[in-house]
Symmetry: D2
Subunit: 356 residues, 4 copies
């Protein structure tokens, strides 16, 4: 029986192990993908660290971690229509049931019975991956593997930023994590005319500058609400996108939003219940979105087209490439020096690190 | 100098007084209206009771209270285009500046420099009222005065309920106050196919039934989240409209909303900061609106057309008509027996109580 | 081998034959449905008459005609998720490829590689039907079979009428065919406050009245543009829905649309190229939709909920029920006396004509 | 009495005259503007040439021509709120009545009683101009006068191009006139990822290239439908914007639009009735807009922000600057060598040609 290398969560405690396990079998409507590159997400780090969220969320171990990925279809089951053997694909992390109300009305990314790749089923830090047809995205092969791999989190940034158009608007991105940095680039590519980025860490803010932020706000030293209001004639920003998960940023964000503006909740909070200025939200009269995942597959078209047209260059955010065997080093960097890291991409076959 | 009767907030304490004061003068772009009917709003009661909100919000006394109204234009200044002498009009409570960004982009109801009639300037519990041209709404005179007067709060219900269409959808109205009761009728008229109303008070729930609610939920005895989920195949309601201002209703509302649904925050909370399940909002992936006022004047067209076409009959909600001189009785009813009252309409000229 | 009765287009000429043929086999992702009721559409009549459209559009004979239907799933292939044996279902006529851009962005009803049931593959005037999982709609069994069968054309009316909300609006339906009559009821159920119906035939206009039209316009005697303008204060209707396929109705429709209004092209024209007042369209500044099919499956939720909630009663439009064996009589009625017919529903098992 | 120079249409025949006439008086709600720059539009040329459109459209002569402009407010009447003396402003050409349904629902740019500046009342090719408050746009003075003057036609391009977002989309601009060239730049700035421009004239196509077109199609030599289909995987473009007024371009545009795409009618046709493939529009299932003017003032915010942020540089399109006294030369260039001209800007005070 053919085997492969896979990064397994083997026990309900900190860590993960690279193991040799059988290459998985496909059923009808499924494909087997030979992975070229997979990138690390904060979710993977939570699972690695085995924090309280991971303890309650992960149901079964052992299983394979990872969900941001790209690779080549090497086997396609009967009924597969979106790709064929030899196609280079990425995959949507959200695996929908296809028969709930959301799945039947264009919202399958928030399916009532959603399964998450690399959380609820075997994921992408491995040499091979099996997924159903419905989550396949056929890649534009003019884009290099490390960028194909990060299309999924870039899709978060695109969905959050462009859920309503930003052309001609002032946009505040709260939080300088990788998705916030992507969001800056997305806002820039889509015609936002005044882009603010809040953060704390010079290394990341510098990336934000390269991605196209007009105004950087160091929240350890500066008053973000005042700066945004001053730069918008006193009325506040048209769009605020909360990507930090910090309650203070969230309330500041509401205070700096102009009446009738648009606000996105994206960053997850440590506790579900957060004191929120609801009366301010009411008097604001604006639109507030909860952002979960990406549109399947409207967002993927936008992501792919922005990258292949070079309207958006995410090079500054993708800071590290490593062989998959260096996974432990990658996780430790994310944990120990998060402020010095953008996205890290891992390659099962190290020879792919410089492209196909 | 000609004088009129007006209900004045004369001192920064509980109560109000009916006084004889000069009929106000108009400037260019203003009209003088002879009032036919004006209805009581919760805001008027706060001001009458002089609660903490009123103490901080009301800047200048003495002034005339009241803002839901209808009457006849008796004098029109130069530059007035929306009505002429003899026209029967209602007025928008939100008085916009006309030059801020919102005013210049179709959102004047949430103007950056908003003035509120009967709060920031003399209001409608009087024989005469002066307002600027821009807030005039020319009435359909086939509608009787008590219904013309309540178009403004009915407009709140229309704006909150129909900010996105409801046809074919399940809609939950949280709260059995007058605007919640209006919202039931609006949802019914606009094609919502399963309408839930939560409340506590049999008198009001009975009105809700008459307005078209399919399912009444007594929150003192029943579990609203369970009932809504059971009646929607386990996935939750398409639309939830929070009109109670109760934190518990708000969190229940989020729990009963299907993923990707629509939620409106309308009811004002006692405290601005309310513990809110923000992670649930994020994972829900839906759209959350702050509702303030009504669209000027899209909402008014809808209100007027629903009433004049008789698609919507608000008779069950308009429970009392009284002469303006009985104002004290009206306020005491609102304060002492709110659960037995829908809308109360006051008439400066009691002979109008049975129509023109 | 088990056989069934099916209405077959056997030759490339006028007519169709009821034949005994093998019950079709299912593949994975497909179901076999035992038909309860199937209704006649104008498309079926074109195919029966073998007019020039049918001659160029139909590629292969023999095949089974018909596409509006309801029945019971009697066999479900592997991978079928939307229904199981015993479920009563209807089916979407538009069979999508699932991998083109439209299929991947919520527009599968206008798939680039669309197949039409009863046109490009065997249809529903038969005892049994095979369709893929993706077109299944699980029915609300509180609705009677003749109404379940007409959900597909009712869905056309819902999609055309409610592509933007109609609450509080004036709506003109041009054309008194069955879908026009449905559209009147849909507009009424969804809160349109002034509904005009144009037509020529008293029998059908009378149905339009029952469906909720406020103003009937007999275009053989009356000037539709003038009537609509007069009834809308001179500015024209908010919404015009062209369901006649008559060039004169189309140009009248544009003339009676208020600036910035909404217009739907639904009725098919005899010739593709029609002289159209494009400068008037430009100066109008409104939104003009081409309407093809129904949203999959947003529209089906609306249709089903309107029927099951009884907000919409289509009884007046469903004028005839017959056994499938009477098909020839049904087609002749549609051809000879179209003005005396609404929808005709055919039952393979005549005992179902009075319900299950 | 103070006088000024103004370009007057004095007789109902070809031409126009620079005359000395009294500086106009303002009323309440009006301002007097000292003009810095005014640019030529095709409409001005029609009026100059006195073609059949102009003969039927222009009601009264003599009057002052021109409507694209910028200048300084030198006198403001009572009730003026959008600008004060000393402010540098541009003006909207569409002068709304403020009391029709469109004016009261955010569509005043398509007012039922619209007046057009420079057509229905005295325009901007003069030293001074009087307009009402409601059409004032306070300029960002970091933008130079020739670009402030062309904000009005640039607004046409913004409105047509961005009536729905274009980020990540393929966009075809049909026609290489100045507004088509602006539209290319707007699409580029707002994130369109594949931009096609069709045209006939190398001088203009070269400007289109500079504005950001990815694919230039010379319709005298190439098959536009095939090129667009080939470059979009055979399904057609997401967005087509018809800016040529040529029937052939219009039908080609419909043929190259993907199903469910978006199409804008902007270019005016010689004859109102144009043979149009309406059945193709119906089967396409997309959205078709008539484009008239610009949103007041959403579009102006976008225009101003795109220019001041330098996300959009329209330098290549503004090909000529001249003193107003050279008006005859400017008109002759537009008439004789239209293919060698982008926008021409005229300056009453020639010293302003190099900026304030």
């Amino acid at each position: 029986m053919a085997t492969m290398m896979a990064l397994r969560k083997t026990e309900r405690k900190r860590g993960a192990e690279l193991q040799e396990i059988p290459i998985p079998e496909i059923k009808s409507n499924e494909v087997l993908i030979k992975i070229e590159a997979s990138s690390l997400c904060g979710t993977d780090v939570h699972i690695y660290e085995w924090d309280s969220w991971a303890q309650s969320r992960i149901k079964n171990v052992p299983y394979t971690v990872g969900h941001e990925t790209t690779g080549t279809v090497v086997k396609a089951g009967s009924g597969v229509g979106r790709a064929k053997e030899g196609d280079i694909v990425s995959v949507e992390t959200h695996i929908p049931c296809l028969h709930c109300k959301q799945c039947m009305t264009g919202q399958m990314h928030i399916c009532h019975n959603l399964q998450i790749l690399g959380v609820d089923r075997d994921g992408a830090f491995a040499e091979y991956l099996v997924v159903p047809d419905v989550v396949l995205w056929k890649n534009d092969t003019s884009i290099s593997p490390e960028f194909l791999s990060i299309q999924e989190p870039l899709g978060n940034a695109v969905h959050a930023t462009l859920i309503e158009p930003v052309h001609g608007k002032s946009v505040v991105i709260l939080g300088d994590g990788p998705i916030g940095l992507f969001a800056v680039g997305v806002a820039r590519a889509a015609g936002a005319t005044k882009i603010f980025l809040t953060g704390m860490e010079p290394f990341r803010m510098d990336i934000g500058k390269k991605m196209g932020a007009d105004i950087l706000i160091d929240v350890t030293k500066e008053n973000a609400v005042e700066i945004v209001k001053d730069a918008t004639g006193g009325i506040g920003a048209d769009v605020v996108i909360e990507m930090s998960g910090a309650p203070r940023a969230m309330t500041d964000g509401i205070a700096m939003l102009r009446r009738g503006g648009r606000y996105c909740f994206f960053g997850i909070y440590k506790d579900n219940l957060v004191p929120t200025p609801l009366n301010d939200i009411i008097f604001n009269g604006g639109t507030f979105y909860g952002i979960n995942g990406r549109l399947m597959f409207d967002t993927w078209f936008t992501v792919s087209n922005l990258l292949s047209s070079k309207r958006l260059d995410v090079t500054p955010v993708v800071t590290h490439k490593m062989p998959l065997t260096d996974f432990a080093k990658a996780f430790e960097m994310m944990i120990e020096t998060p402020k010095k890291v953008g996205k890290i991409v891992l390659f099962p076959d190290a020879s792919m690190m410089n492209g196909r």
